[in-house]
Point group: C2
Chain length 165, copies 2
């Protein structure tokens, strides 16, 4: 190894750290799903917004885009909808969530530093480096989860602590 | 330059890209502040939560922690409160927000790749690498901004598009 390489600063973040960061957020979102009473999970909403089950299915479905991040394989919306059509109870939603968690762990080794810098077009919606697409996935999850916190507060339920991943 | 260095993969993200990412989020949060009618910004809330002005001041105050990220200088809570005590109108909140935006741009050059890997204790609340502290700042902003979206919807106001940074 050359001296230059040996002395190189380690990068800001590694693929392994990004996986831990994402899965930490996903674990917290799972606890928010769990915090909802079954009926409210599928029915309660504020200001004409979707119930939290629909927000969680959006976030969970987007996370299956790990196939796109890793291999450039983007499902169609029809395929995504078909994969979620029977998810109509809290138990099934949590099982769906867990299946995506396992899928992410399984595909992650394909996400090398080099891969994060390649350009993909995510579902024809946004074209950019894989890094930016992943950050969008995570940002979108935090955004909708924050909305779930308001739903829970409006229902008189204490949400899980935000900083406990 | 050695061959090893020349062929090295570029990192997942650079300090410049992280600045753009953070300031992109801050620009969107600014537009959410703008979207609130003055009175609702300071008074409207759901489920016993704080009004959006208080959430925005928390997020804006935390962002002044760029001094901690860059130099390890963490203000006291008393100093932070004192710096915000006159921010009692929408105009003043936006001006405060903009002053923090400038401060971040000014201090950013101190945030090298190496600095992101150094350990800091942010206000005695969390100890970890500067990278993780910054991600917490951004996550907390997205979380509270998502809550602002629910407030706006409940008020019958269309929020700015989430994906437009």
């Amino acid at each position: 190894m050359s001296t230059a390489t040996m002395n190189a600063t380690r990068p800001i973040i590694t693929p392994e750290e990004l996986l831990k960061y994402w899965q930490g957020h996903r674990g917290l979102t799972r606890r928010v799903i769990e915090a909802f009473p079954e009926k409210d999970l599928f029915e309660f909403s504020i200001g004409g917004m979707r119930p939290f089950s629909a927000l969680a299915l959006e976030v969970g479905g987007i996370a299956t885009g790990v196939d796109g991040l890793a291999y450039g394989r983007w499902s169609t919306w029809e395929e995504l909808e078909a994969s979620q059509k029977d998810v109509n109870t809290k138990e099934k939603l949590l099982a769906y969530w867990d299946s995506v968690t396992e899928k992410i762990n399984k595909e992650w080794p394909a996400l090398t530093e080099a891969r994060f810098n390649e350009v993909e077009n995510s579902w024809g919606f946004y074209e950019g480096p894989v890094r930016s697409i992943l950050f969008y996935f995570i940002d979108n999850e935090i955004h909708h989860r924050g909305q779930g916190y308001v739903y829970l507060r409006a229902l008189g339920i204490e949400p899980p602590h935000f900083w406990e991943h």
